[in-house]
Structures are given as C-alpha cells and as structure tokens.
C-alpha cells in the first residue's frame, strides 16, 4: 500500500546526481517591496539543508514558494527535475514535498491521531462513497492510515498523547506533532520552519534526535531556524539570506566565520 510505502532509499551515493530541489533565479515582491531577489538554491538528496538569516530576510517566503502557497514573480522551482513553479500546494505535497509552519498551524480541535491521519491524505484514496460503504478495501486502508499515523507519532514520541486534542498539547509537543503530520505524507523532502522556536534545551535535544531519525529514513530535510547552536550542530549545508538575497552558503564552519554573515547577524556598531 502506498500509505506505508517509504520513499526510495537514497543516500550518499546519489550526491553527484541531479539535486532533489532546485530554485532558479526566484524573485517575488509584496506590495512593491522585493522580498526575494534572484535566489538560487540547490538541495541534494539525503542532506540537511539550513536556511538562516535575520528576521524578515525572506526565509519563510522561500518555503512558501516551494510549497506552492506563493507564486514567484520570476524564476523556476524544480523538484526531481519537474517544474513545480506555481503548482497548487496539494499537488506539490502529492509529489513528495511537505512542510511545517513557523506559527504552528495544526488542526487544533482535532486529536493528535487525527492530525497525523490527515497527514496520510495524499497517500490514501477513499472518498465519501467509501466513507458510507466502508468496503473491505476502505477498512484496510483505514487500518494502514492508522498504522502509518501511529508510526510517525512514534518517531516524534507522541504515541501516548494520540487522543489529546492538538490545542491542548504543550508548545514543544505541538511543534513535534507538526513534524509528525508532515512525515505522515511519506515525503522525499520535508521543510521545517523554525521547528525549535519556543522549545527549551531538553526539547531541542529531542528535536535533534527526531531530525536525525528523519534523515535516517532517507528523507531530505530543509530547515529554517534561528537557534544557531541547533543549526550548526545538525546541518550539512547552511545558506544565509539577508534582505531577500543569498549572501553566503557552505558548511557550518565556513558560514560561522564568514564576515558578511557576522555583520548581517550582529549588525554594525553605531558609530
């Protein structure tokens, strides 16, 4: 069944091949103000790719473009060499990209389990006739959905809380549930938008483990995050955005010592 199907195991060997995701000269503006200017990004399979930059630099906008919520003014987005520029979000999810949101967007009045089950939507098929009929196939699929949902809850450690309403979860757990929900769609690429925001040190450590697990499943991770310690400890590649432009990219070490990055983050002192 597609529900429990894992994406193809792709690891180190694929490095030299086509990148999984490619942004080519992507620009967008809001109300005349340029939010992104000619951004080029390549994400390789199996990697953890982090996007950092000060508030308002355009990081979430990149995610919104990739996931189809915004349509870029110019440029292309290629996923597995398919042009997905401006496609509807649900079609993009279908292709294997999924995401979380900076300002948590869970289905608040549904249970943890239901949130995860909705994550399986794109890998299952029953419609309302199936809902009424509950044929054998539908029941089997429901079983698989449930299994898959429990599986991803297990990954983030929320199995115990599967019957709790999402709105009643602690902040850190809500972030984890968003990740689980995204994972349930069996993606090849997962976009995590500030997954560590609002988490304490302990929770952040747990999150590092979760992301490692995700990578272990062969899923490529793209990360927007403010906590540098977190980013630097986990990323394979870090790209830095400032005022809608890429100003640096490379391994965590390279980025940390890049003067342009330091300036963007710390700002120049007032003379």
């Amino acid at each position: 069944m597609p529900v429990s199907g894992q994406p193809a195991k792709m690891t180190g060997e694929c490095r030299s091949m086509q990148p999984l995701l490619k942004l080519e000269q992507v620009s967008i503006n809001f109300g005349g103000l340029a939010a992104l200017e000619s951004v080029d990004i390549q994400v390789e399979r199996g990697k953890i790719f982090s996007l950092i930059g000060p508030n308002g630099a355009g990081k979430s906008t990149v995610f919104n473009i990739i996931s189809g919520i915004y349509r870029p003014a110019s440029g292309r987005v290629l996923f597995k060499n398919i042009d997905i520029t401006g496609r509807k979000p649900y079609l993009i999810t279908d292709l294997g990209i999924t995401r979380t949101f900076q300002n948590i967007r869970l289905f608040k009045n549904l249970t943890v389990l239901d949130n995860a089950r909705i994550g399986c939507h794109t890998r299952s098929r029953a419609g309302f006739i199936g809902a009424l009929g509950r044929f054998k196939k539908v029941r089997e699929e429901e079983g698989l959905i449930r299994g898959r949902a429990m599986e991803v809850l297990e990954v983030v450690g929320l199995t115990e809380k599967s019957n709790v309403l999402a709105k009643n979860l602690a902040y850190g757990d809500q972030r984890k549930l968003e990740i689980a929900r995204a994972l349930a769609s069996s993606p090849e690429l997962i976009l995590l938008d500030e997954p560590a925001a609002g988490m304490n040190v302990l929770e952040k450590q747990g999150l590092v483990d979760v992301i490692e697990k995700i990578r272990g499943m062969g899923i490529t991770v793209m990360l927007v995050e403010h906590d540098m310690k977190f980013v630097m400890s986990i990323s394979d590649y870090v790209a830095v955005l400032n005022y809608g432009m890429l100003i640096a990219g490379g391994s965590p070490d390279q980025v940390q010592n890049n003067p342009a990055v330091i300036e963007a983050y710390l700002g120049r002192e007032v003379g």
Binding site: Y90, T93, T98, F107, K108, S124, E142, S185
Partner: protein, 299 residues
C-alpha cells in the same frame, strides 16, 4: 412506552415530529457544510425548495414512485449545489454566506416566475406520501451516513479544511474539490428534506423557502452546536418544538424565542453541544451505564 405509543397515535404529535424530522435532515446537511467543513451557507432552504419542487413535479407529472422522486429531488438539489459551489467556494466566510443568501433569494424569485411550478400560487394536490415512519427511517439513515462520513478519511479532510485551509492544502487536500463535495452532499440532504416536506404538507409555494427558513436551519445547527451530530438533533428538536411548546404564552412566544436565541448564544457561544460528537456521546453513555448494568446483572 405507553407515552411513546401515545405520541405516535396522536396525529398532532405525529405531524409535529414529522416536520421536526424533515427539518433535521436538512439541518444535518447544513451541519456538514458549516459545522464540519466550516463554510457558511445562508441559503440552505433554497436547496430544500429545489428538492421539493422537483420531486413534487415528478410525482404530479411523471407518476414515478415516491422514493425515486425523493432521490431525484435530492440529486437535483445536489447538482444545483455543485453549480453554485464551483464558482463561489473560492469566496470565504461572510462573502460566501452572502452569495449563498443571494442565490437562495434568486431561486425563490425564479420559482415565483416559473409556469411549471405554479408561480406564486404554488403546487397543490401533491399526494401525501411522507409518513412518520419514512421520515424516521431517513433521519436514522442520515445520522448514520453523516456519522460515517465525518469519521472517515473524507471527513477528516473536511475537518482539516475547517481548522486551517492552508495547512490542509499542504497536507495534500484539494480544498476546493472537498468543499464542493461537502456542499453538494449537504444540498442533497436538503433536497431529500424538501421532497419529504412537499409530500407531507401536500402544498408548497416559494414563500415557504425564503431566507427566513434558511436562517432557521442555521439556528438549529449553531444553537445545537457546530460540528456535532447530537447537537444538531437537540438543536432542531428544541427550536422546532419551541414554537409549539411556547404556544401557551400566545402572542409573546416569538418574543421569547428571539430572546432565547440571544441568551443561548451569549451563554453558550459554541452551541449546546458544540464539539461533542456521536462517538464521544456513546463512550460517555457506556461509561455511565456500565456499573449499574453490572450491578443489575448480578441481581
């Protein structure tokens, strides 16, 4: 038990309960649209009228069997629902509400101007086919169907749209399609309800299905509790029976009815049973009844 028999044998109660059941079917449909999918519809009575006229006309002109006509009425209403939903489901919140309200009024005016529907005079002489048992069975079927729908992959997708449309879309839910489907299922139930209405009262005219009726249905759903099947049942029961019970206060009854609506919302803005679903209710009942059941088992 004797009390129940009394009710069934008393044609007045039967009539009142039949009407309640008819409204309940339409209200359940509206609850799917508004309560479960989160889309406003202020023109639900229009779909009742579409179902009522189509099934009544089939009965009168084509003499096909009642159940066939009923089903056809529901399907025609559902089809009209799809026609309306495709362009308008892109609108959100109040704008969608107003569009559906406008559609409802347009349908009413169309029926007034059409020859075949008897214009403002309406359609009379529709044979009485609806009885309490048919309505009762259809209510049970609707509740059962709705329960199955909301507790399925399909229903979860609707709930996801209600909770957060953008998040739902990024989870792979084609929101527009699902909204259209949910709307048309809701309209189907309204159409069935309309068919029952026509074959119960035997006379229909367009003014029976104005926006006042649409808002009445909305009251049933909202006061009962959005997104709750038992809520809709309770809301419809309380509010459709209220005018009957309030008969003793005579001309003051609508005054009390209006004040009651305000009070219910102010004190319970999520409705009487807001958020309580049928599964919860069963579970809670089981929990409550289990210990005494065990005790009586011993005796």
């Amino acid at each position: 038990m004797e009390f129940l028999l009394d009710i069934i044998n008393n044609p007045y109660y039967e009539q009142v309960l039949t009407m309640m059941g008819i409204y309940l079917i339409a209200a359940l449909g509206l609850n799917l649209i508004t309560g479960y999918t989160g889309q406003f519809s202020f023109g639900h009575a229009a779909f009742m009228s579409i179902g009522a006229y189509s099934s009544a006309l089939m009965t009168l002109k084509m003499h096909t069997p009642f159940l066939v006509n009923l089903l056809a009425g529901g399907l025609i209403a559902a089809f009209c629902g799809i026609l309306l939903a495709f362009p308008s489901m892109r609108l959100t919140g109040d704008y969608l509400g107003i569009t559906t309200l406008g559609f409802g009024e347009i349908v009413r005016v169309l029926f007034i101007n059409m020859e075949i529907t008897g214009g403002a005079i309406g359609l009379a002489g529709i044979p009485k086919e609806t009885d309490f048992v048919t309505v009762f069975v259809l209510v049970i079927l609707s509740v059962w169907g709705l329960y199955r729908i909301v507790n399925s992959r399909f229903g979860r997708a609707l709930a996801a749209i209600r909770e957060d449309e953008i998040a739902a879309e990024t989870m792979g839910v084609n929101a527009l399609m699902y909204k259209v489907e949910s709307f048309s299922i809701g309209c189907f139930l309204a159409g069935i309800s309309g068919g029952l209405y026509a074959h119960s009262l035997q006379y229909i005219n367009p003014s029976d299905f104005g926006f006042a009726k649409s808002f009445e249905l909305l009251n049933f759903v909202v006061i009962g509790g959005l997104g709750s099947i038992p809520g809709t049942v309770l809301g419809t029961a309380v509010l459709s029976l209220a005018p009957e019970f309030l008969r003793f206060v005579k001309e003051y009854r609508m005054l009390i009815y209006g004040a009651l609506m305000v009070a219910m919302m102010v004190f319970r803005p999520n409705g009487i049973l807001g958020g309580v679903n049928l599964g919860d209710l069963f579970r809670r009942l089981k929990r409550r009844t289990k210990p005494p059941a065990a005790a009586s088992g011993g005796a």
